[in-house]
Symmetry: C5
Subunit: 271 residues, 5 copies
């Protein structure tokens, strides 16, 4: 039997902006069947709406491949606002010519392995009982401090890079290899090693991790922003050999798109 | 070979209301193509019907993401009434503009690990043979007592919280890790630990578990009701490290929606 | 390496009626778009055909959930007749308003673990070589006797219960746990234990097992008939803890429907 | 680490006719919506084409269940000719009323375990180095001899039996049980045992195996032809307990159809 | 616990042209419903565009089976140009009659196991610390040299062979058998053995490997070009028994098509 008393502690996390990815396919034949003046009207309406969305931290990407033609990414402070952004789009006449193929709902997250180790260690040293009021206050104080310190990373602008790679992922919970049963210290070490690889790519790729446990079908979403899409492959391939990815990472579908502003979108849809 | 005589006993459960989740997608372009007066007529008809459904313990949620636009949740005393609710919706003109993407059928359930342990222990002590008349009477008496004591939890109103998170789940029956072969006492301990985490969130999230063995494609459905959707992630992430979830939980798709009353729905559909 | 000489013997089975399950979804909006007189004509035509089908051992069920609206179940002596029943439906005008979502093809089967053990034991005792003429004659005689004795169970009427639960299933052929490598005696013991649970529910649920190896994508289909749908959950949950289900059962999708006669169907489709 | 030097040798195979299975669903409502004279015209055109196809070794089957209504099977000497048969069908007006649900591409194959054992053994005895010119010549000569001897089985007519059961399959490459790592001699023994079962059914079922590695999503396709469809179940169930199937066989979807000639097809489509 | 210090090094790779596969299905009934003059106009427009694409290293294949009718393959120096090729097609009137069923995005890649072994060995001998400036310079110099030497293989023309077999694949990351945890030397040996088989088929099949980590849902895409499609089966079957494939290869769907030039395509679409 497994040992109840050795269950590893949960790493503390802080959360920021809600994130919604919307993958859509253009109904090209219906779109092309419209009178050109009608298309222009629809594009004018859409352009205004998209410019407003961009100002509220949304961005549009032209996707490569059949999984969709356009991907919209929204960062918002609250889920209420994500729902508003989503609903606003359904009100556009352009939406009749876009078919939503998939989506992803998550919240920007920073995992605090190091802080967790420290605060738990210090609480244990002081003999403070888990889940006591003092314990909760100390944890909450740690979280509040981190939320403030990390605010720019928790509520970021959408990076302006030319290409975006998005994919969801899980940590494996296999019958023999189960991330959620690995001792905390080992997980912390593996995450450090993993982070070190990421930092070597800091100049060429910007990574935003969002948590989706309880929100969508995978545990995390990963957004990589880079001007040269080849770095997506290099970074992920190198990471695939680190312990946490080699043993514990399970990947969903990959989406690669090129950033398109409102003017670009208008060109894109002018057929 | 496995040992037949050590097969763990089945935990007693009591059942309450039948539950049907219906996920639907709005056919936005067909809907928008209608004359505005026609849409108003259809909404008037639908509003009356939805208000009646709400009074019979149904609720409507605006979903985030592409899995659907509206989720209807029905609690009913009998499956016959769930079928009536479902059939009544197909009679609405609005139903022509809603496409059912998925659904989930289950019945509210309370697992009685503690009572099971006690009553089985006591029956064994008294030397009462399993499945004898006396044994069945004692079990049935335990169940009847629990059904009465638990009545409010078995036949609840739909909690009024702003957000709902729904997902189905299984207990793992792997080749090495198989919940249905774990000794009863160990399962009981793990469920206690699991429940203790849930109770720490009692102030911010209301959980309703429904059983779906024999009804739908997963073993259980979980509905979490909360005003702040972030607690869905926190609760489920913390639980993912407890033994019963880390080792034995398998999850289906997650649905997150915001409660919408009839007036809200009318606004939502006024494009 | 595995041992060729210890491969477990195949249990004898006898087969009866062919079974076809057809799950269909009503095209509600197309159906509702028809003139009411036209709908009545179509229903009249369908009613006559369905009454004839019912007399030939077919039944109709209103399904709960999105997997379909109507499930048709046909028991026929031969596959030729199943094909005729299927083809006859495609000739109905109502069929234009029904979309087939899935189906299941199988044949009613009784597994003869006990007889198999006896006849194989007796043949071995007498030193009769497997697959010799004498051996085949003895096996064939056993099968013929069983087919006659079991005739009512092999070619049954469709039980008149109010609810039906249908699901397909497999026996696991995992890398460590493989039903088809378990010694015959152990399989026989597990099947006895499994059957004993079923018999405790004999008063409230009628079970019909059909084999589908070579016919459809799972190995068996299970039909449970009961007036109270809660017994589906109780029976299957209790069985989930017996060895053969806990370790070796893999389940497909579950379909739950309420029996509907021609008059009921007419009501159901009168919108 | 695994041992490179003990990798089992590849069994020799000889290949014959290319095989294409096409599963199609009739668009019944569009078809029925046509004027009866128009349907007759379309059927006349199709009948001529189908008769020509039949003469070139094609056959048509009425499928049971929702996976399709009609399955076309084509045997052709070359892939070029399969492509022509496929393209010819798209030119028929009937094709507008048939929706292709799936297909399978393969080539009739005979695995030569016994010859392989002999020729490899003899080459090793003579000390002839693998992949040397002499080695290749000897292998090629064996293959040429087998291709000639097996010609009727490699380029067969489609057997005229009343029923067809088609399914694709793989040999398991699991983490513990991996067919491709089993020593050659053990594979040969298991295939012999497997073949012996098949031969006991020789009078009632005709089996054609086609290889699809590099052509389609499973490794082999299996076609069983029989007048009594129950033998499909009996044969496959018995085989499921032999070592090669119990441990190493993975199965795709099963398709069961009844042979229909052009006249039968005309009847079938006359609604 | 696994050993962090023994994680195997990442093999160096060099990348060349971006690759996009587009599988499309012809909407035959809509296409046939057009006036013949209209079809001719559309084909004239498409022919001009396809000829231009072919000159920029694109090719068209007629697919066997239901996965699509036409597969377009594009090799381009940059992802920007792949996006342009893709967008250009959506501007063709023919595109209204083609439904994209799937696609695959990757980049031509050469894995440098041998160079990696040498340069890492030499750096270790010289005591140069990993990821130091000297280390990075030496690695970058190796890559630059290889990119130049391999230029023709990294930016190839599409081979003119009559048949193409395309499939995506992964290296297994199982709980016991995990490619990414195999020591570098063992991987190098397995890749050598694998390459040796490929070289024996050099006269009859041309293989192009592209990497898709970070771009699409599998790790690699494989394109095999041959005049005789039977060599696809022979090559892949032989490889299936080598260690790297038998133990570590997981395969996606297979697509087999016949090269079609613009004139051939025009014939193909003239119905």
């Amino acid at each position: 039997m497994h040992r109840f008393d050795e269950m590893p502690p949960v790493p503390l996390t802080v959360e920021g902006a809600g994130v919604l990815h919307q993958m859509t396919r253009v109904r090209w034949s219906a779109w092309r069947a419209l009178e050109s003046a009608c298309r222009a009207d629809i594009l004018n309406e859409a352009a205004g709406a998209l410019e407003a969305l961009e100002k509220s931290r949304s961005a549009c990407y032209a996707l490569l491949g059949h999984k969709g033609d356009l991907m919209l990414v929204h960062f918002r402070d609250q889920f209420d606002q994500l729902l508003e952004a989503q609903h606003g789009l359904t009100g556009l006449r352009l939406w009749d010519y876009l078919e939503q193929t998939t989506s992803y709902l998550s919240v920007i997250e920073l995992g605090l392995y190091e802080s967790t180790g420290k605060v738990y260690g210090s609480l244990a040293e002081k003999g403070i009982e888990p889940h006591s009021e003092a314990w909760k206050a100390s944890i909450e104080e740690t979280l509040a401090r981190q939320r403030e310190a990390m605010h720019p990373r928790l509520f970021p602008e959408i990076p302006p890079a030319k290409y975006l790679c998005f994919y969801p992922m899980d940590r494996r919970r296999g019958e023999q290899k189960n991330w959620y049963q690995v001792p905390f210290e080992d997980r912390q070490l593996m995450m450090q090693e993993h982070g070190a690889i990421g930092r070597r790519y800091a100049g060429s790729v910007k990574q935003i991790i969002s948590g989706s446990i309880g929100f969508d079908d995978w545990e995390w979403g990963v957004d990589l922003f880079a001007d040269d899409p080849l770095v997506f492959k290099r970074l992920i391939y190198e990471m695939r050999f680190d312990a946490v990815s080699a043993i514990y990472a399970l990947f969903g579908q990959f989406y690669v798109g090129k950033r398109t502003d409102t003017a670009g979108l208008r060109d894109w849809l002018t057929v």
